[in-house]
């Protein structure tokens, strides 16, 4: 489980050989280091066992396959019990927020979509809603664009939950959960590919609307997919929810009650598993969520099992929303980008034998007939639009909790600062509260039930 085992000792070792090989010269040595690099494991265990009074600090991760990406957990053990747990993060820091300050507002979408790569469409939506709020065009977003956003987000919520359950199951040794989960996710990714051209990191939602309208046949494809998905979710339900082994593994594990959730700013399924029905889709609707009928489910166990239960049931709720949205989209052929030509991204994509590019009709207009359109096209692409100085915070309900975007503009064509409140980051700080006093094996279950994605945590 560990790359290295560190010993802290109360008194200095009698041997004059250096015990802490990682201490700098002159630095006080904090304890004896054992590196598990081949050899007989029993030798190390024997040496460790010869000093029973010492506490053991184990580095779990960052390359550990069960810590959900490059998360490093620093666990202090007493036997099998964890006396102290700390999360080490930052291994996937890519400076996305800083980079966004050097790109136009529209280009920012292509960056922020790469933060939490399991739920790219939520990050895009949060960012675009914040930009639109700054521009003061929230009311002018076409209804069809909002509906497409909801459709994409709800499908994305399902894929995110499936990844959470799939990888979570695999970390506990249940590969069937993973194969079923990823099989169902694949159906949705094909729909994403059909609509946005990409399976992940779509950059599909843009300030003012969405990049392009749904292709012909998309609604039909989703309609045909829904019963299959429902069947797949039912399989997952059967596999997991009443399975006595899984229940024995998860019930009561990773407990974090409502008080703890509130104190740590935990949101999403974790908070709902503690009995508080906080769901921003209901509490402060955006993108027209108030039009759709769905339930916010809660549980009271506040443990890993309840979070799993909620995720399974939330997927069914998301499907309910998807069904309502595609009905709405079929009756609303409206535009998918704001009217304002000073803001709307000037692209009309079309697929032809030469691939996908700007449609010939659009080319005809900007190159052949309207110099005004051509100037707008050039200005918007090179310089971008100006956003009035000010700041805006918009939050959306992501699969992991409240995903907020705080955008600050100094009146220019690039953001002065964009900051994201990533639920993975906020929820991850609950690791200590959930793991301390538990067994080592429960850490895996507890961390999996938080569903942190390190791309979102480190950004």
């Amino acid at each position: 489980m560990s790359e290295s085992t560190v010993f802290s000792e109360a008194e200095v070792d009698e041997t004059d050989e250096r015990v802490d090989v990682y201490a700098a010269s002159g630095e006080e040595e904090s304890g004896r280091v054992f590196n598990a690099v081949g050899g007989d494991w029993d030798d190390i265990v024997g040496e460790v066992g010869s000093r029973p009074e010492e506490r053991i600090v184990v580095n779990m991760g960052p390359q550990h396959p069960s810590t959900h990406g490059v998360l490093r957990l620093i666990l202090e053990l007493e036997g099998e019990t964890i006396t102290e747990a700390r999360a080490g993060i930052g291994y996937l820091h890519t400076g996305i927020e800083k980079n966004m300050e050097f790109r136009t507002w529209v280009q920012g979408v292509t960056f922020c979509t790469r933060m939490d790569y399991v739920m790219p469409l939520f990050t895009e939506t949060a960012y675009c809603l914040a930009v639109e709020k700054l521009l003061g065009i929230t009311d002018q977003i076409p209804e069809r664009a909002s509906a497409i956003r909801v459709l994409m987000m709800e499908l994305n919520r399902i894929t995110s939950h499936l990844v959470c359950m799939g990888t979570g199951g695999m970390e506990m040794g249940a590969t069937t959960v993973m194969t079923v989960g990823f099989r169902e996710r694949e159906r949705i990714l094909s729909v994403f590919e059909m609509i946005s051209g990409l399976r992940m990191n779509h950059a599909y939602i843009r300030p003012g609307g969405v990049a392009q309208d749904l292709p012909a046949g998309a609604i039909q494809a989703i309609r045909e997919m829904i019963p299959l998905l429902r069947q797949g979710f039912h399989e997952l339900e059967l596999l997991m929810l009443e399975n006595p082994i899984l229940k024995g593994r998860m019930v009561g594990v990773g407990h974090l009650d409502l008080t703890g959730c509130m104190a740590l700013g935990v949101t999403g399924p974790m908070l709902r598993s503690a009995g508080y029905p906080l769901d921003l889709r209901k509490d402060q609707p955006y993108c027209g969520y108030e039009k759709y009928d769905f339930e916010v489910l809660t549980r009271t166990g506040a443990d890993a099992y309840d979070r799993l239960w909620l995720r399974v049931k939330e997927m069914f709720e998301s499907l309910k929303i998807v069904e309502q949205v595609i009905d709405e989209l079929q009756n609303n052929p409206g535009p998918v980008m704001v009217e304002d030509k000073k803001i709307a991204w000037p692209a009309q994509l079309a697929v032809g034998p030469d691939g996908m590019g700007n449609s010939l009709a659009h080319i005809k207009e900007i190159m052949g007939t309207s110099m005004e359109s051509l100037i707008h096209h050039f200005k918007l692409v090179t310089e971008g639009f100006r956003v009035p100085a000010g700041q805006a915070y918009v939050a959306v309900e992501s699969p992991k909790g409240e995903l907020g975007c705080h955008a600050v503009s100094d009146g220019g064509t690039r953001p002065h600062r964009v900051h994201f409140r990533e639920p993975s980051f906020n929820n991850l700080q609950a690791v200590a509260a959930m793991c301390e006093g538990a067994q080592v094996a429960d850490v895996i279950v507890a961390v999996a039930s938080i569903d942190p994605v390190m791309g979102g945590v480190d950004r």
């Binding site: 292509t110 094909s190 590919e193 059909m194 950059a203 996908m356 692409v381």
Partner: protein
């Protein structure tokens, strides 16, 4: 949980072993595994794959060297350098209708993030994205695609530039769709 969803007596009794039913039924299901690379799954038409530089029906290049694609690119993957078309006798010749053409055109596929902003920016549909996705290679130099690699192959009725514009046609006529292949 709502009352209507309450499971019946039997389903409740068999719920703990319901997973075995799933496992058993899976034996009779078609396997979903994709046999890549033996069997290549076709992508969706909108898929963002390798770029292509297109030609007008008479073979002239559509790229006018405006650099909008490079401006739009958030990853700075595109390098363009324009030059003047030279129609004078003995000059370097004409590569595109109008004044300018893209003399140097490079896309660095080590930087490209396939977001598609470049094709949305292109004002002449010179740059499009095809569905080709097998772009892996083992050296830096091979992944910086040059204009020769990106240019679409000549179709029937196309002549390799440099050559003059189609007879009696202006630059604008190219964008209005009046030029046809083999019109020279």
């Amino acid at each position: 949980m709502a009352e209507k969803d309450k499971p019946g007596f039997f389903s409740e009794m068999f719920a703990p072993v319901g997973g075995f039913g799933v496992t058993f039924a899976t034996m009779f299901k078609k396997v979903k595994t994709e046999e890549y690379p033996e069997v290549k799954r076709p992508t969706q038409p909108r898929f963002h794959g390798r770029h292509q530089l297109n030609r007008h029906p008479d073979g002239l290049e559509k790229c006018v060297g405006c650099e909008l694609c490079a401006w739009a690119c958030p990853a700075d993957a595109i390098f363009v350098e324009g030059a003047d078309n030279d129609d004078t006798p003995g000059g370097t010749g004409r590569f595109s209708p109008g004044e300018r053409f893209g003399r140097i055109y490079q896309i660095n596929y080590l930087r490209c993030i396939f977001c598609g902003l470049c094709i949305e920016a292109c004002p002449t549909r010179a740059l499009t994205m095809t569905n080709f996705y097998e772009l892996a290679d083992d050296s830096r130099a091979d992944l910086i695609f040059t204009k020769e690699q990106l240019l679409a192959p000549l179709q029937a009725g196309m002549d390799a530039p440099p050559h003059a514009m189609a007879d009696g046609m202006q630059e604008r006529d190219y964008y209005l769709g009046k030029v046809e292949g083999g019109s020279r």
